[in-house]
């Protein structure tokens, strides 16, 4: 594969240094290189050992009790842990799913449950969450509540989150989001497919019709 000519070691130290200095500018993580790698990878990871649905009893955007297991039983379901004061990955992930969902037939859109669980319940009150999700897809479900419950639920899905805290250096409030979306099968209720944060609209558009039926994407 990558071959280094060790004759280079025999070279005068000065010349070696100069060579590496010239080369270093091109070896950075240029976006072009990333693109060519991405196209060969599949966004979905189908799990051999599906996750059980987390036991999350929280509050929805209307301020009402929402039992995740009960409400989503037998429904194709996607879950993501994030927060609304997040300009980058959280809105992108939810918007990617929203755009893909709109391409499903109406009946399938109504079957799908997309659940956004806040990792920042102190700031994400039911009404704040509701306002934010309405701007993405009014059918999406937003849940908030006790952080310890949310953290424990996330942990059963292999997602680790920390409470919102103040950065020691800047004094700024720092929140943490999950990096995965997990899809649950309507047939088994198992969390059987995992998406990383680089999953695109096209990936979800391609896979959602299968997830609706509990098939492997």
């Amino acid at each position: 594969m990558r071959k280094k000519t060790f004759a280079a070691a025999a070279l005068l130290a000065a010349a070696t240094l100069t060579l590496s200095a010239c080369g270093s500018g091109d070896s950075g993580d240029s976006p072009v290189a990333v693109v060519s790698e991405d196209s060969s990878q599949k966004a979905a990871t189908v799990l051999d050992q599906p996750f059980e649905k987390p036991d999350l009893v929280l509050t929805d955007t209307k301020g009402q009790k929402y039992d995740f297991r009960q409400e989503t039983a037998g429904r194709p379901t996607l879950i993501y842990f994030g927060y609304t004061h997040c300009p980058d990955i959280c809105p992108l992930t939810m918007n990617n799913i929203a755009v893909a969902k709109k391409q499903l037939p109406k009946a399938e859109q109504d079957k799908l449950r997309v659940v956004f669980v806040t990792t920042d319940p102190a700031r994400d009150t039911p009404s704040e969450l509701g306002k934010w999700l309405k701007g993405i897809d009014p059918q999406f479900i937003g849940l908030t509540g006790d952080f310890a419950t949310i953290q424990a639920g996330a942990r059963t899905l292999g997602i680790s989150i920390e409470p919102t805290h103040k950065d020691k250096k800047t004094g700024k409030v720092v929140s943490v989001h999950g990096t995965q979306v997990i899809a649950f099968s309507p047939k088994t209720d198992g969390g059987y497919v995992l998406y990383g944060e680089d999953a695109t609209v096209d990936d979800y558009t391609k896979d959602l019709p299968k997830i609706i039926k509990g098939q492997n994407p």
Partner: protein, 152 residues
């Protein structure tokens, strides 16, 4: 890849001198240009992100120290560390290198925008550097799901 021709290694003395000049012009000054700028249409006017790339063709590094915009009184620089984002006071633009802002990495954060930017509009942003003069860019507002890799 990365293979050095052994014959070249024989001429060590002149080689070092010749290669030292490989950067071309601008050996002592940063030479900056900015491209690939966009803002994904935000969910609300409370918060938006912005991305771009600063290319430095010069032989000296520079530093992006602040960003200002008429769209928001508060624009800050963030880098992503693991699953959280951290505000930073400056970011390096290496000599003969680039500073990349992209989703999941470095990003601008606009807070409490005067109004919500909508796809098709442009947001004027001024970048301030430690050495070079300020650069003004027109950041196009793209769809909320815009992916620069595919262009849609």
């Amino acid at each position: 890849m990365n293979r050095l021709a052994p014959t070249a290694l024989l001429i060590t003395g002149t080689l070092a001198l010749a290669l030292a000049g490989c950067g071309g012009s601008g050996d002592t000054k940063p030479e900056l240009s900015v491209g690939s700028a966009y803002m994904p249409q935000p969910v609300t006017g409370d918060m938006a992100a912005g991305y771009f790339t600063v290319v430095n063709k010069g032989g000296a590094k520079d530093e992006l120290t602040s960003v200002t915009s008429g769209a928001s009184a508060r624009v800050t620089l963030h880098e992503t560390v693991g699953q959280s984002m951290e505000q930073v006071t400056s970011l390096d633009v290496p000599a003969h290198g680039q500073l990349v802002f992209k989703s999941g990495g470095n990003h601008l954060m606009f807070e409490n925008l005067k109004r919500k930017p909508v796809q098709g509009e442009k947001v004027t942003v001024e970048l301030h550097f430690a050495t070079s003069g300020p650069i003004t860019i027109e950041m196009p507002v793209k769809s909320a799901t815009y992916n620069p890799a595919t262009g849609h």
